[in-house]
Structures are given as C-alpha cells and as structure tokens.
Amino acid sequence: MQEIVIDFDEQGNATIEGKGFVGTECTKLTKAIEEALGTIEERTLKADYRRTVAVHKKVGA
C-alpha cells in the first residue's frame, strides 16, 4: 500500500516519509508539499528509491 506520512512537531516543523513507493515516484508526489512548507533540512533516501521498475510494453497490439 502506498502511504505518505507527514509528522509535525509542536513547532510546525515537518518530517515526511513515503512508504510503498519505488524509484522517484514518492519525491515527485511530495515535492509540492515540501516546497510549500519551507526549507528542506535533510533528505534520506531509502533502499526502494534506487530500485527500478521493469516495464513490459506490448508492441503492435
């Protein structure tokens, strides 16, 4: 299941965590939220970020 969890501390600073995403999909989805909130202090990429997805395309159907 794909999920984005945004935790706000009592000062309003946020930590954003994506779960169940592969590759750059999560960062693309959360980019607008990150930019609206303020300055990114730290970004930690998880193992799934580096995994690529095999796309099987049917040609000539």
Partner: protein
C-alpha cells in the same frame, strides 16, 4: 519506503494561515498595515534581528483574537504582525509584543511564547491544502491524527 525529508517551516501561504487562525479562534486581517501593541518602544528589550524598533507596529497583515477590537496600551487588545521576512520577501515573520496580560492573552491560543500552536496549525493547513490539490485527485485519502506532546500526523493513504 523511499525517502524521509525533514522540512523547516516558513510562512508563505496566507490562505493556509487564515485556516490556521480560524481553527484557533483568531482572525487574519489581510492588508491591515498596523498591529496593536504597547505602542511605544521602551528600550528595555532586544530588537528582533534586522528590525528597527521605530517600525514596530507596522506590518503587511495582522492577526487578532476573533470578535475583538484592536487597541494599543497596557490594557489593550493586541495583535500579531505578519511582516515580510528579512532577506526573504516570499516568506513572512510573526512579530508581537509579549509583555504583560495583553501579550499573554494574545499568545494563549497560539501556544505561548514562540506561537508554536499557530505555527503547527499553519504547517498542517499548508500540507493538507497541497495534498488536496495534488494527491487526493490521484486517489489518496487524507486523515489527521492529534498525537501526544502537541504533535500532529497527516496520513495520506492510497485507496
């Protein structure tokens, strides 16, 4: 899992600030160019970085307690000034006089000194609004959870 990002808050979105204020029983008074306070710099406190005490009381927008009429002075109804940030014209800073009962009355719904509750509610409103604009149409559902210690969790789960 793919990434974790830590973001330091900056106030940029007036609509989200309006939403946060309403949740706390405050009014965002847009384009109000003065905010009420003691009314005169007493030279007994340090000016915020980059601010000239002669400009105290001027702002771009103001925040006050809903249903009240702003006034200066010891027993006045004071406001928070929403002022363009020094060195970052896209962001706003919040300025206010914290002195005495008037200052404490204003800070109370905002979580006290530093206005943490107002800042947190602003951040939640920004994220919720952006999520609605971008993720909800992609099938995500947003839910809010209020956690211990004044923390809030916004969970966006794909259906």
């Amino acid at each position: 899992m793919s990434h974790v990002t830590s973001v330091k808050l900056a106030i940029k979105d007036l609509d989200a600030l309006d939403e946060a204020c309403a949740r706390l029983g405050l009014d965002l008074r847009r384009d109000k160019k003065t905010f009420s306070w003691w009314g005169r710099f007493m030279n007994n406190s340090i000016a915020p970085a980059g601010r000239d005490p002669r400009d105290y009381g001027t702002c771009d927008h103001a925040i006050g307690r809903a249903g009240t009429t702003p006034s200066n002075g010891n027993s006045g109804e004071w406001e928070i000034g929403v002022v363009r940030a020094v060195g970052d014209p896209e962001s706003f800073e919040l300025l206010l006089d914290t002195y005495g009962s008037a200052g404490h009355r204003l800070m109370a719904p905002c979580g006290g000194v530093g206005l943490p509750t107002l800042r947190r509610e602003y951040a939640v409103a920004v994220a919720r609004r952006k999520a609605t604009a971008t993720l909800v149409r992609k099938g995500f559902v947003a839910t809010r959870e209020d956690l211990a210690g004044g923390r809030v969790r916004l969970r966006l789960r794909k259906r």
